[in-house]
């Protein structure tokens, strides 16, 4: 039977170490909503999402109360809209109308983000993909809860450099369209290499075409819990360090699994995966950077950071896969800058640079995330940053992503405040040397040699 110590440990994790379930994300296929008539398409999208997700928030809150564990976000991911709306949308305004439909229904069901305003263009763009990408700045500036993502490359297909170049400009235009809110639109836009079909985390969640009609995916969290556990083994060997992270990741993931199973049962929607990412928040003590410091680094970004992060990422997975047979999504450590108090401090004092962050993305689950850069950064420079990150994902057969915010009217030395879970960030300097001629070449980067496994 459960004992006193175990009950106290769990409740202490929740009340003092920020243990929570970060998100219950319901994936909804919109493929059966496809219609050449725009009004009819929008009506079908609204009705399908509403019918499936109307109880999502209520059920999430009930589960949270029953077990006494916070479930921070309830979200929805949908089929990439370029596939769904291609037949009905012939102008940017048409896509904006679809975006507003998504925003309205998201508000109606009470969720806090809806992902899937997306295009998958890792080898090439259809006219529908291209138009959707062009509409992103206007959709993100005229909606509140919609998130956009574009998959620009994969290990199997290579990198679509035409799309990469285009996204450099789209990030700038999105920043411009939302400049009155510190270019917040860019916080809801992410580009990927090897984007997973079942990621529950925003801004990159979408419901892949290989998924069923509806699915429940759950993202767990718990950097604070890992940090507290490591404090208890301060100065011990790597073996003890690894064991501690693994055991903690196991416990955290089991909570995610419990919530996922309950949500699936109560909503009558099949369970998909648990994403066992360590996702920080701006709250004090809920930081991945603090874990790295607890391992023995003065600041995140110091020499040794990449090794420490690689170790952390691997042990989180090893503990997590024991706790759930269906692990998916991104599953690893997140290293967003603005959403992590320790990362913010490291960036402010100059310990952390974009180049070091790029190295860190080789060994953790995502990429250059929530990084504020000067508003006058050139389109081609952003495209170059994206291309580098896509190349890391392609060659290492892993997911990588870029979510940078070129904040209009701000430069190095300024700070930008996004508020809530998105946090705040110092503007980080970007390498000033040009890559214009490279990114202005047309076509694509071919798939790497090790993708030919057949």
């Amino acid at each position: 039977m459960i004992n006193f110590r175990e009950v106290n440990e769990t409740n202490q994790m929740i009340s003092e170490e920020n243990l929570d379930v970060r998100t219950i994300t319901m994936g909804i296929s919109l493929l059966d909503c496809i219609d050449p008539d725009l009004d009819s398409l929008c009506r079908k999208i609204h009705d399908k999402i509403y019918a499936n997700a109307k109880d999502l928030v209520k059920v999430g809150n009930e589960i949270s109360r029953d077990f006494g564990v916070p479930i921070v976000n309830k979200r929805i991911s949908v089929t990439p809209i370029a596939l769904v709306a291609g037949a009905a949308c012939h102008t940017i305004d048409d896509y904006v109308k679809v975006g507003k439909t998504l925003d309205n229904v998201a508000n109606e069901v009470g969720i806090n983000f809806l992902g899937g305003f997306s295009a998958l263009v890792s080898k090439g763009m259809t006219p529908a993909d291209k138009l959707l990408i062009q509409s992103i700045p206007y959709v993100l500036s005229s909606t509140e809860l919609v998130c956009a993502s574009v998959n620009l490359g994969s290990t199997k297909t290579g990198i679509d450099m035409d799309a990469v170049r285009m996204m450099g400009s789209i990030f700038k235009e999105t920043a411009e369209q939302t400049k009155d809110r510190d270019s917040l639109g860019c916080a809801k836009l992410v580009v990927f290499c090897n984007a997973p079909d079942d990621n529950p985390f925003m801004a990159g969640a979408f419901h892949g075409v290989t998924e069923g009609d509806t699915v429940i995916n759950v993202g767990v969290s718990g950097p604070g819990v890992v940090k507290r556990a490591l404090e208890a083994v301060h100065g011990e060997s790597f073996e003890v360090l690894c064991e501690t992270v693994k055991k903690t990741a196991f416990k955290v993931t089991r909570v995610g699994m419990l919530v996922a199973k309950e949500a699936s049962k109560r909503l009558g929607v099949p369970f998909g995966i648990v994403d066992l990412s360590l996702a920080p928040t701006p709250a004090i003590g809920d930081s991945v950077a603090d874990i790295l410091c607890e391992m023995g680094l003065e600041k995140a970004g110091a020499p040794g950071t990449t090794a420490a992060l690689a170790l952390l990422n691997d042990q989180v997975k090893k503990g997590g896969v024991m706790a759930s047979s269906y692990v998916g999504g991104l599953s690893g450590a997140f290293i967003p800058v603005s959403e992590d108090q320790g990362m913010i401090k490291a960036a402010e004092c100059g310990a952390l640079t974009i180049e070091k962050l790029e190295a860190m993305t080789c060994v953790c689950s995502v990429g250059l995330d929530m990084i504020a850069i000067p508003g006058d950064t050139k389109d081609t420079t952003i495209a170059g940053i994206i291309a580098d990150e896509m190349a890391i994902g392609m060659v290492n057969a892993k997911t990588t992503a870029v979510r940078v915010i070129p904040v209009v009217g701000k430069g190095v030395g300024d700070t930008v405040e996004f508020g809530g879970l998105l946090g705040y960030a110092p503007i980080m300097p970007v390498n000033q040397f040009s890559c214009d001629e490279f990114v202005n070449r047309s076509g694509r980067i071919p798939a790497p040699i090790h993708s030919f496994k057949n």
Binding site: I2, D66, M257, L258
Partner: protein, 91 residues
């Protein structure tokens, strides 16, 4: 059987267990196990209970317990379904 875990934490005073147990009896909650200690003047108790005979909603039971702790005893009372502890600490 539907198990829940009740935890009571706060400054020690006369009659904490009596008041909690009387309430549970009123609500037809069966107590399966009690562990209790005092650490530097602070009362700390865990109960494993069976709530299958309870007529009201689980949320209501939680609210009433919290309210009992806050207004009548001066301690913090939490009630959670048992699965979260089982899942986390048992293979």
């Amino acid at each position: 059987m539907q198990k829940a875990i009740i935890t009571v934490v706060g400054k020690d005073t006369v009659g904490i267990i009596a008041k909690v147990c009387s309430y549970l009896a009123e609500r037809n909650v069966n107590i399966l196990d009690i562990t209790q200690t005092i650490v530097s003047g602070y009362f700390n108790m865990m109960m494993i209970v069976d709530i299958s005979g309870v007529q009201v909603d689980f949320g209501e039971l939680q609210d009433e317990l919290t309210d009992l702790g806050k207004t009548k005893i001066g301690v913090e009372i939490k009630c959670q379904k048992e699965e979260i502890f089982e899942e986390m600490h048992r293979l």
